[in-house]
């Protein structure tokens, strides 16, 4: 008589069911709040759905028309270049380097027991805990040409005001976004620095390694995988940032600070063309996936 033995699939299921059960709540929430809207946006991008007019009442499928329109739009190239400058300037260079520098300084301060360390930590964190709109208006209050505190200060000393947002709009935005996002990078790196065993540094010191050599040979390699995750995170969040720019320049002057996320917002909620705005958002999603693939590839451990 043949013996009934469970199949390979059943064995795998039994082995993994606790794992699947544990992942299910998170996977369900992610599907509900991230995957489903993304699928909806991709679907909508193939329609002429609008918030007003006949297209709102009777939306219809338009194939690739929204994507063709985007590719032929005179603004699209400018918007992509602006996005690249903003991401590289404020996320890759600004937030990443400043956040890393702050984490190293605070780590050093903690080891030396400097009393100012918690105050520096708190003040950097303040920039991050503010809601984005408040952070944006805080800088509007400083940059504003007519009533801003920077120009009022200059006027107090008999100097004429500077058009911060008019003459150097992208640089101003990069400064603001760097200020706002550096705290996040700092926190992550601080955590990562604490995981590096102190014996490594003690051995390096005994071998006569300088501070720079210790940083280059020991700190950086230990931060590599965290750095990739941080870079991925700040790149994606900066690529999708629009509220700060909306508050400060609204994409102007001209299209000098119109980035892709703001362009999508303007198309969907100012021009009320949800289908076209969704096509822009879908392109953003594709670009973010490419960023993610590159970062993960670069950060994967080499065997």
């Amino acid at each position: 008589m043949a013996t009934m033995t469970p199949g390979r699939g059943l064995i795998a299921w039994r082995r993994n069911r606790s794992l699947i059960g544990g992942l299910l709540p998170a996977a369900s929430l992610l599907s509900l709040f991230f995957v489903a809207p993304a699928i909806w946006a991709i679907y909508t991008s193939f329609t002429n759905r609008a918030l007003v007019g006949l297209d709102a009442r009777h939306p219809r499928h338009v194939g690739w028309a929204n994507y063709e329109r985007l590719l032929h739009s005179p603004a699209f190239k400018t918007v992509l270049i602006n996005s690249l400058v903003f991401v590289v300037g404020s996320a890759v260079i600004g937030q990443f380097l400043l956040g890393l520098a702050l984490a190293l300084l605070l780590d050093h301060g903690e080891h030396r027991g400097y009393r100012a360390t918690p105050f520096v930590y708190g003040s950097v964190l303040l920039a991050w805990v503010n809601p984005t709109v408040i952070a944006g208006f805080l800088w509007v209050a400083m940059f504003d040409f007519y009533y801003g505190s920077l120009n009022k200060t200059l006027q107090f000393f008999g100097l004429s005001g500077v058009s911060w947002l008019g003459k150097a709009p992208m640089l101003s935005l990069i400064i603001v976004n760097t200020w706002r996002g550096a705290a996040f990078v700092m926190i992550i790196f601080q955590g990562a620095l604490r995981t590096i065993p102190s014996q490594i540094y003690e051995a390096a010191r005994m071998d006569g390694a300088s501070a720079w050599q210790r940083f280059w040979d020991h700190t950086l390699p230990n931060l590599r995988q965290v750095a990739a995750v941080v870079l991925l995170s700040v790149t994606i969040s900066t690529f999708g940032a629009f509220l700060l720019i909306l508050t400060l320049t609204n994409g102007g002057p001209g299209t000098k600070t119109e980035v892709i996320a703001l362009y999508a917002y303007h198309a969907a909620f100012q021009s009320r063309q949800i289908g076209y705005g969704s096509a822009i958002a879908a392109v953003m999603l594709g670009l973010n996936l490419i960023f993610a693939a590159i970062y993960l590839r670069v950060s994967s451990p080499k065997i």
Partner: protein
């Protein structure tokens, strides 16, 4: 201000003609709407929600007054008031998302120019059946006012205060600059000439404000680009209902931007990036820091309530000139109106609220406080309303008003205008390239079939 120009001829007589032309365009479309709802004869009952934006704080007491009078006349009614302390643009986006999902308030408050796009979307209820049962509509609302809120042959909302605009100027700054304090721009170019003179002789003030780009919001179109196109003898939309992308007037209007921002440099570049630049510009004109500004008639109320004597002495206002003539026209509109949500479950009570708000007393008092020409002719005859010269001039200005057609595509056109004026004002495009870009933007947004070119 030139009193001859603003003679007290019949209210809105010419406005009727202008609005009629706009309506003729709208009526060119075939009607595709269902029959009007029939108002019930029974007294209103139940619950409704009334939603409206207000940041100036002038309307809430009148909305509450209307709700209370409706409730006391009909004990079984409940009027929930949803006052949104945000700007019109922000309110409109939130409202559209609610309407799109089949929700939203029963009654809401929005610009009458939005009637076309809201009606096409199926968001709002046609009001003709209700208005036919309301004697005040036929008796006190002039034909021009009625036609300004019609689209595809139906009436979609009820206005109470109409829009007009003025070219404001500071008399004290003009005097210092060696310009006449009773200034009447000889033509459009004279606005820039005068601004240059202010820049040279009164260097510590801003000579002129001209809205452009995204930052100017709808003001970039309504308070800047559209009046310029009309001043240069052009039109925004042709008799076939197509938006004009390329024309001599549009080229001249964009060249005016180049002149103002790049050549004469009489407009601050910061107007293109300042958040809600109209807030700063209005404040500056009122306080004597800005020479010339084309803005809504309602703006005068803010200055007047702060400093009555100073405003009367120093703030001059006139109509917009044309390429070849002095003060000639303004831009009129139905102003903010009350709409009924097509998805409302209690449209009878919703209309009862609109009637309770649009009484002679409330319309007169609100428009006297927040200066607009009154939509009701009997409200314009009250002593409180007639006591204010500015209100009389505002009402008279509508005799010279041109109206923006209630076309559902106007929102997309505004975006194209913002893009191109921003690029031209910032020096990124020449006027000639700006015209081409404007045509491209219109074609991309509306489709080639809805865009026309004129020589």
């Amino acid at each position: 201000m030139n009193r001859d120009l603003f003679s007290r001829r019949s209210l809105l007589k010419n406005a009727a003609g202008s609005a009629g032309a706009a309506v003729a365009v709208a009526q060119g479309f075939s009607s595709a709407f269902a029959q009007d709802a029939s108002p019930a004869a029974a007294p209103p009952s139940g619950t409704i929600t009334v939603s409206y934006p207000d940041q100036a704080g002038l309307k809430p007491k009148y909305v509450t007054q209307a709700a209370e009078s409706l409730h006391s006349a009909n004990a079984g009614t409940t009027i929930n008031i949803d006052l949104e302390n945000v700007g019109d643009d922000d309110f409109y986006t939130k409202l559209l998302l609610a309407l799109d999902s089949g929700n939203g308030p029963d009654v809401f408050h929005m610009g009458g120019n939005s009637a076309g796009e809201l009606a096409d979307a199926g968001y709002i209820e046609p009001l003709d059946a209700y208005l036919a049962e309301w004697p005040d509509w036929a008796q006190f609302y002039p034909a021009s006012v009625q036609s300004s809120v019609q689209y595809k042959g139906q009436t979609w909302c009820v206005p109470y205060g109409l829009d007009t605009r003025f070219l404001y100027y500071r008399k004290d700054i003009f005097t210092k600059a060696g310009l006449p304090s009773d200034w009447q721009a000889a033509n459009v170019a004279d606005i820039l000439t005068s601004a240059v003179q202010i820049k040279q002789n009164v260097p510590d003030v801003l000579p002129y404000a001209l809205y452009g780009g995204q930052a100017g919001s709808s003001g970039t179109a309504d308070h800047a680009f559209v009046p310029l196109v009309w001043a240069y003898g052009g039109e925004m939309i042709n008799a076939d209902g197509k938006w004009i992308g390329e024309s001599a007037a549009i080229r001249k209007a964009l060249d005016y931007y180049v002149q103002a921002f790049q050549n004469d440099k009489v407009v601050d570049q910061e107007i293109l990036t300042t958040t809600k630049p109209w807030t700063a510009m209005r404040e500056k004109l009122g306080s004597g820091g800005l020479g010339i500004l084309f803005e809504g008639g309602w703006v005068y109320g803010g200055w007047y309530s702060k400093d009555k004597a100073g405003t009367e002495a120093n703030v001059g206002y006139t109509l917009f000139p044309t390429e070849s003539g002095g003060p000639s026209f303004t831009i009129g509109g139905p102003g903010t109106c009350w709409y009924i949500n097509a998805a409302s479950k209690n449209k009878d009570l919703a209309f009862a609220f609109i009637k309770a708000f649009n009484t002679k007393d409330i319309v007169a008092a609100l428009n006297a406080e927040d200066p607009h020409p009154a939509a009701r002719s009997d409200a314009a005859e009250t002593p409180a309303f007639k006591a204010q010269q500015f209100l009389l001039d505002s009402t008279a200005s509508l005799e010279h008003a041109k109206f923006i057609p209630p076309d559902p595509n106007y929102g997309k056109v505004i975006t194209a205008i913002q893009t191109v004026t921003g690029l031209v004002a910032d020096g990124e495009l020449s006027a000639e390239d700006g015209v081409k870009r404007y045509t491209d933007e219109l074609k991309t947004a509306l489709g080639d079939d809805l865009v026309a070119t004129e020589s």
